[in-house]
């Protein structure tokens, strides 16, 4: 067991100014419930290095999702700040923040949310369109991504008509289309069976190991703790413990494109997928 503050110092000791990607500084988060304020996050300080695979775990209600939302720019902390590549994201207005954060990172949620009138291909292409690409470029890129997971045949279905496992794969592809540096995931396997769960977690590991992307996953599934370079255990809104799986972790820069996953031998067992 390593004390919170010590562990952070351990991390800080290993960093230099180039590899420091996310700094969470003294964050408090209160939620107003009826007339009371409930403190969900207590003075959390966390530093994440480029190329890390962080798993945030802990019992339900410990504040792990809230912490992730704070990092993603979705939930403004009551106190404290979050620096992304050295920039204070909550100093920006909502729109600037959304644009800035979406350039750097992506969020995969437990449940897949869709624009229901669009088909699979169009939903995957949506972030690309939002970033200003035209329809042709976006469709092409989305099709390449579908091809990556050999899901082309689902391109013209409505996502809501697909199984949970299929939806989560498409959700992942949509999250990856902008080739993000940081991938955040909130219980990404929460609704999946074991086969699908293994696939999703393998994919995250590949993204981290082969493409050197920073990955932060919130999960309460203890089976995956070994995937992480560092495990953060939360309790009652505090970081209760930190496990350094790779005490000698060396920060790395992202390499290649998401589409390069194929070169790195992404294993797809199709029969399992279409469940």
């Amino acid at each position: 067991m390593i004390n919170n503050k010590i562990s952070d110092n351990v991390v800080l000791g290993r960093m230099d100014s180039h590899n420091l990607i996310i700094q969470v500084g003294n964050i408090d988060k209160d939620f107003e419930v009826a007339t009371e304020y409930i403190k969900v996050l207590h003075n959390i300080t966390l530093t994440i290095l480029e190329g890390e695979f962080i798993i945030i775990t802990g019992p339900s209600g410990c504040g792990k999702s809230t912490l992730l939302h704070t990092i993603s720019g979705w939930e403004e902390p009551t106190f404290g700040n979050v620096l992304l590549f050295g920039e204070d994201i909550y100093a920006k207005d909502e729109e600037e923040r959304a644009i800035f954060c979406n350039k750097k990172m992506t969020m995969v949620s437990q449940k897949s949310y869709w624009v229901n009138s669009l088909n699979v291909l169009e939903n995957i292409a949506l972030p690309y369109l939002i970033s200003g690409y035209n329809k042709k470029e976006a469709s092409k890129k989305a099709m390449q991504l579908l091809n990556l997971l050999e899901l082309e045949e689902l391109a013209y279905y409505k996502p809501a008509d697909l199984s949970g496992g299929q939806q989560q794969r498409i959700n992942l592809l949509r999250a990856l289309i902008n080739n993000p540096d940081i991938v955040l995931a909130d219980e990404p396997t929460g609704n999946l069976d074991s086969l699908n769960t293994t696939f999703v977690m393998d994919l995250f590991q590949k993204i981290n190991k082969d493409l050197k992307r920073t990955v932060i996953v919130v999960t309460h599934n203890p089976n995956f703790l070994d995937f992480a370079t560092r495990v953060i255990i939360m309790k009652d809104g505090r970081i209760a413990d930190t496990i350094l799986n790779e005490p000698n972790f060396v920060s790395t820069k992202p390499v290649g494109d998401i589409l390069d996953l194929k070169k790195h031998g992404l294993k797809i067992e199709k029969k399992d997928w279409l469940k």
Partner: protein, 399 residues
Amino acid sequence: MKISQIFFLSLKNLADRKIRSILTISGVCIGFGFIVYLLSLGYGVEKLTTDQISSPDTLSIFEISLSEDGESRAIDDKNIAEIGNINNVEHVEAAAILPASINVGPVKNDTIVKAYTRKFFELEELKIINGRLFIEDDSREVLITKGLQKILNISDNESFFPALDVKIMTNLALSPTNESDDLILIKSLKVVGIIEDDSPSVIVPFKTVRSSIDLVNYNVARVKVIDANNLTETRRQVEKLGFSTNYIGDTVSQIKSFFNIFRFILMGFGIIAMIVALLGMFNTLTVSLLERTQEIGVMKSLGAKRKTIWWLFISESLIIGFLGGVLGIIMGNIAGKATNTIFNFYALQNGGRAVDFFYTPIYLVLVMLILSILVGLITGLYPAKRAVKIKLLDAIKYE
């Protein structure tokens, strides 16, 4: 996100909720259609009325007549020449109208003789429904009205048009050298045409009358002006010289102001229909906002700007408004044409005449198109503003 893509997304969304979209667009369509239908009726009836009393040419012509109190100046050749010298006057032509009786074989009837030149005939824009105009101003040919044709029971077949004798009662005011109430007979005038008029009268070539009667003064003259826009000024100059004038445009503008009120009332009914349609449209957009709250969350989580979210709703309401407007204009027109056709069918069956009493001026179409866009914009403003304000996390968790 490009505006075209936002519109595409809105179209997809409307297509995804087909029945509701169709119902909403139909509502707007009925509102616009009703307004277009009623206003076209208003314009059509007005056009029908004013067209019957005036063609564009008519509006450049005014009439000089003798006032009833006898105070106005006489209309004679000298005075006509004087009027002809006024700027903006293109032509002045006089005519005489005299009481008379006619004989066609044994049939005798009282009537009115109009001594017209060909030019005057043209200026009065009389319509020949059968036959032709007399060839020269001194021909021994006449035209009779439809009214007189009926009384005399003359066939429609030109080759059976009879010849007639007229006995014109002279009038001291017009022909001082003749004795008052003298009856001057002009024999065997060949009927060559029928004109559209229900009152009984005969149009006799001017010189043919003058060769029998010493006409010095006339009772009517028509002035054609060069520029109809300055007609009022020209008319004032003529009146200053002591003549009494009439202008069909006076009647036209009275009719126009009546129809303005008429249209206003019709529009009132249309606006009520429109308000009902707009409430429906507003309701649809508000429901759409609730249904799509999560989608707004998705869009925001993917980095969509406020402007994108705003346009997403505005474009949807613009599409509904515009489609409803365009379809409404088309439907209003079709309904008008259909009503017109049905009406004419019965009118013709009952011996009436086919008329167009629906008319949609092009500017009405343009105004309606602009209105449909405005309606879309205004209805979309509130839902769009609400959508922009929703917090990302609240939206994405909204079920």
